[in-house]
Amino acid sequence: MSEETHTISVQINGRKVKVTVEARMLLSDLLRGELGLTGTHVGCAHGVCGACTVMIDGQTARSCLTFAVQMDGATIETVETLGDNASLNVLQQAFHEKHALQCGFCTPGVLMSATQLLNRNPDPTETEIRRALSGNLCRCTGYVNIIRAVKLAAERMRGLAASSSAHASASRE
């Protein structure tokens, strides 16, 4: 029996992609297997570990709990949008400096959850960070350094925001 397929158009990391998928293909299968975006990791494939977390239309979601066919017209961002080896973004740099990862398997998902937190809340408390990351399991770090890294990133991002707004108001004058 030949399998039913659907053609979807989806924007992934700023690139428009038209792709034909089986109905049962998960978004994580599409990203990793079809598009080669292997930054998104698949740990448990049932929504518990959080390693496969991506942004769908600006909101974090589990790519293992979403069918690719549902993503027609959606905008998806994966960990690959954050930065690369040559230029880490502020959050990734903070993870690097604070030793917020060891094996790195959970890190893509943690980064996406932390990105959503910092987009919404530039100055989170430790409790807020822990709640925001409660759906991401890490078996290496014990979380302490992850929380330190998110705090450091928040601090630096606030600093950047303050200096850029100061710069903007100075240049207006």
Binding site: E4, E22, L26, T53, R62, L65, T66
Partner: protein
């Protein structure tokens, strides 16, 4: 059939997909994206019990990834307009089934109308799950550890259900029948949830015991108390996680009704909790643990409700 991760790595994976491509976790199904709830119900009837509605998918897709569930068709409600809404109509808070859990969690209207719902929302799942998971999905899925069914029973919600022959209304208390089993017929879908707006004088609280904040509830309790003058005129105490569906702890409720609040009274009521339910044991917690923790949770919930408990 074993999921790919369970297969022996020495054997060539049995591929039920095109030769040379990695296999996929869920079994094959037909994907249908109707443009109205009426059409969705028609498809449900057409498949005669072998189709499932796909809302947020945060409970359904795990079951399909394990191939514990292999429906012939999925009817995706995400493309149906008009199922995602949140509004007050007179003395009811009305919620569309496709409303995302995160939007209910952050809604000022919900906090004003039914603070018990707002309080329970952060227990529903991790933030990414709540972004995608829906109100109708968690209610219709009816997991025994789910929070919202208990909240719906505690608040006396009404469920509007759509079938091929029109709609009917089911009170929350009659909706949850057992593990993953509701009063919904195979060709019916949950079309709307109506929560009575909590009275100004009412008090509520939600507490839960679990390993992580959003993780499976081992036991949880939702409490809603109504007052006339300083007297408790109505009490609804609902437990989830200890049995296959939410259970009202009527002995504890009866101990409160008609009385005015005193520390002894709350303790007395909490101690009656296990008269209404014999908590079950499973791999997550023993029956003894649940029996011991339930009265404590009820006591804590009542205390929270009458002291700093959320007021409407």
């Amino acid at each position: 059939m074993l999921s790919p991760s369970l297969r022996s790595s020495r054997k060539k994976p049995r591929n039920d997909r095109q030769e040379g491509r990695p296999s996929l976790k869920p079994a094959r199904f037909k994907y249908i994206a109707p443009s109205s709830a009426e059409d969705a119900v028609k498809y449900l009837a057409e498949y005669d019990g072998d189709a499932r509605c796909l809302s947020g998918g945060q409970s359904l897709i795990p079951l399909m990834n394990f191939r514990l569930l292999q429906p012939a068709a999925l009817i995706d409600l995400n493309k149906c307009p008009g199922l995602n809404y949140l509004r007050q109509e007179d003395d009811e808070l009305v919620i569309g089934p496709m409303t995302r859990q995160a939007s209910v969690e952050h809604s000022d209207l919900v906090r004003k109308c039914c603070p018990l719902i707002s309080e329970a929302m952060i227990y529903l799942g991790s933030p990414a799950i709540r972004n995608r998971g829906t109100i109708g999905g968690t209610l219709a899925h009816a997991d025994r550890t789910a929070e919202l069914p208990a909240v719906a029973v505690a608040l006396g919600a009404k469920f509007l259900v759509l079938g091929p022959n029109g709609s009917r209304t089911i009170p929350a208390e009659e909706f949850f029948l057992g593990d993953l089993t509701t009063a919904l017929q195979p060709d019916e879908m949950l079309r709307e949830i109506r929560f009575p707006v909590s009275a100004k004088s009412s008090r509520s609280a939600f507490v839960e015991a679990g390993n992580r904040h959003h993780d499976l509830a081992l036991v949880g309790v939702a409490v809603s108390l109504s007052f006339i003058d300083n007297c408790i005129s109505d009490a609804r105490i609902v437990c989830h996680g200890a049995g296959p569906h939410p259970v009202r702890l009527t002995y504890a409720e009866d101990a409160l009704i008609g009385k005015s609040v005193a520390p002894d009274l709350l303790d007395e009521a909490a101690s009656q909790s296990n008269l209404s339910i014999e908590p079950e044991g499973d791999i997550h917690a023993s029956a003894q643990y649940r029996s011991a923790v339930l009265p404590r949770l009820v006591g804590r919930a009542l205390q929270r409700a009458v002291s700093d408990g959320v007021a409407a």
